[in-house]
Symmetry: C2
Subunit: 335 residues, 2 copies
């Protein structure tokens, strides 16, 4: 079996893990990596990942440089949360007909914030036969794809509710920072309201669900507030005093007229007890599903990225929604 | 939007519900139905379903007769559990390039029991551009598709375990009969061992999971025994005395060498307390998911059948596995 040639775009903590996981797959061959950070450009992938199998590969400054040296078939992208930035970064690949999968949160449903851009890139991809899709755990799985999958056995659906509670103390530094750990509540609340902090992608999850089931939403409302520590909390990365921020509580709802059709409720804070994902489909039949302990974030994110490769290559060319691809699964049992 | 023309093949309790549900969908147009039962041939669909919108339609004796009168684009099939029977029944449609979805249990992974037949029909479908897929709740969802979907966020998977507990007292008469309700334990145990009673499709679910994740199984072992009533149980259809059979406990395991990779455990009996579906993915990350109350059988089965139509028509021609299609979802929100 011919191996699929992969390049990794973005070498932060998630990107490096994606690179390591891709390098372990017998069906994939890592042929290069890109990062814009001057401190990383030119460095050896062996040195960055600790993997000897990546011998001879160095970090390229951009896709143009990468394409002068090698011919990847799929780009794994972990370099931006903003869909416009992601699309611009990936454009040289898509123009060459090279497919890409990205953890970009806004790309889970790019037409929500960038309808014109989504159309433009969909047309580009169809023209060059490239496929582009976004993946992830949230957005991309627990608050959108998994509840959608459940509705597949429903005759009718009235309302979809998902609650996700994450103990952020188990997560990476950048996530603990993003949820305001150790900040003053007033300062962080302002950042949260301005969209400069907190979890990205909740509105996109609502929009993806509504688009798929066919609800024409009149509005998506989002709110968010800090969770305040009621005791001292110490993680690997932060010391939080009582009264300081230890996380976020965000909520997005999708409405048709005055009727709430979709509610996504996300609590992500240091020391959250009984983390879980809980989804309720109000319909016929109704469904009540609990992911006990929740879906662990970072491992699951890189897994969703690497696992999507065969399904991405089997999909129709275009800017695809994740649930238009085949049903997700791990496929590593051939090793 | 042009409606998709549907015909229903099989008019038992599930088939009639499928017909009713299809008739309610604004994107579907019911154009006919087939049943081999002489007591049904020629009868009016209005009379059989109570739906006036089916005015003018009568039961055809077979697909040849149906095709002389109308041109369906998709056949919904609910007439057999045996894959060979199902394939033979659907052959005239597939030869015309007409696609079909079936609740046939063995068709969930037809290559398990009929590898040559599966190849032959796949080639036929590719030639005529027909698509054929099997759907359902079990097999087709809780013990195969849903756990597979969960593995999509796993870096590695070691073992997959699913337990399903169903209170059969809530189900249709034919299911209560199939699980031995009211029979003598010795008699029913013999029928169960001979494969003439009990739940069909457990081995196919194991085979579908293994095929998808890439485990090359050395064997699939199946066992089953009756559940014995310890008190009198009265349902709409059966009176069961203590000491008589009130249901089944079946189990299938998939092994690679001596290592158990897949365990599916099904308990389906009258009066089962706390019905649920529970799936555990042993891997990185591990996942532990409970469908509280379980997935209700009959409504969910017809929903899976009617909901698959748009995904079936978007799939590549051929005899397809359910998880090769796009992610399931209800799409009725446009009404």
């Amino acid at each position: 079996m011919k191996k699929v040639k992969i390049a990794q775009f973005g070498l932060g903590p998630i990107g490096l893990e994606s690179l390591r996981l891709a390098a372990e797959q017998p069906e994939l061959e890592v042929v290069g990596a890109v990062d814009h950070d001057p401190a990383k450009i030119g460095r050896s992938l062996v040195e960055l990942t600790g993997l000897r199998s990546l011998d001879g590969l160095r970090v390229a400054a951009d896709l143009e440089e990468l394409f002068r040296e090698t011919e990847p078939e799929v780009i794994l992208h972990t370099a931006a949360s903003n869909a416009r930035t992601t699309l611009e970064q990936l454009r040289p690949a898509l123009e060459f007909g090279v497919s890409a999968a990205s953890t970009c949160e806004e790309l889970i449903f790019p037409a929500w914030k960038y309808p014109a851009l989504a159309k433009e890139y969909d047309a580009l991809c169809r023209h060059t036969k490239a496929r582009l899709v976004a993946v992830g755990v949230n957005p991309g799985f627990v608050m959108d794809l998994l509840p959608l999958c459940l509705t597949g056995v429903c005759r009718t659906v009235e309302r979809i509710e998902v609650e996700r509670v994450v103990d952020a103390a188990t997560r990476r530094q950048s996530l603990q920072a993003k949820i305001g750990s150790g900040q003053r509540p007033e300062d962080f609340a302002l950042q949260l309201q301005a969209g400069r902090a907190g979890h990205a992608g909740l509105q996109e999850s609502v929009a993806l669900i509504a688009h798929t089931v066919g609800w024409k939403l009149d509005s998506i409302e989002e709110s968010g507030e800090p969770v305040i520590a009621d005791r001292p909390i110490r993680t690997k990365f932060f010391n939080v005093a009582p009264g300081e921020v230890c996380g976020i509580h965000q909520r997005a709802t999708g409405l048709v007229g005055d009727t709430v059709r979709i509610t996504l409720d996300l609590q992500m804070y240091l020391g959250a007890e009984q983390p879980h994902d809980h989804m309720v489909i109000h319909g016929r039949p109704g469904l009540d599903v609990t992911v006990n302990g929740g879906v662990a974030g970072d491992d699951a994110t890189v897994a969703s990225l690497v696992n999507v490769v065969p399904r991405l290559l089997a999909a129709q060319p275009g800017l695809r929604l994740l649930n238009e691809l085949a049903v997700p699964s791990w496929t590593g049992g051939r090793d």
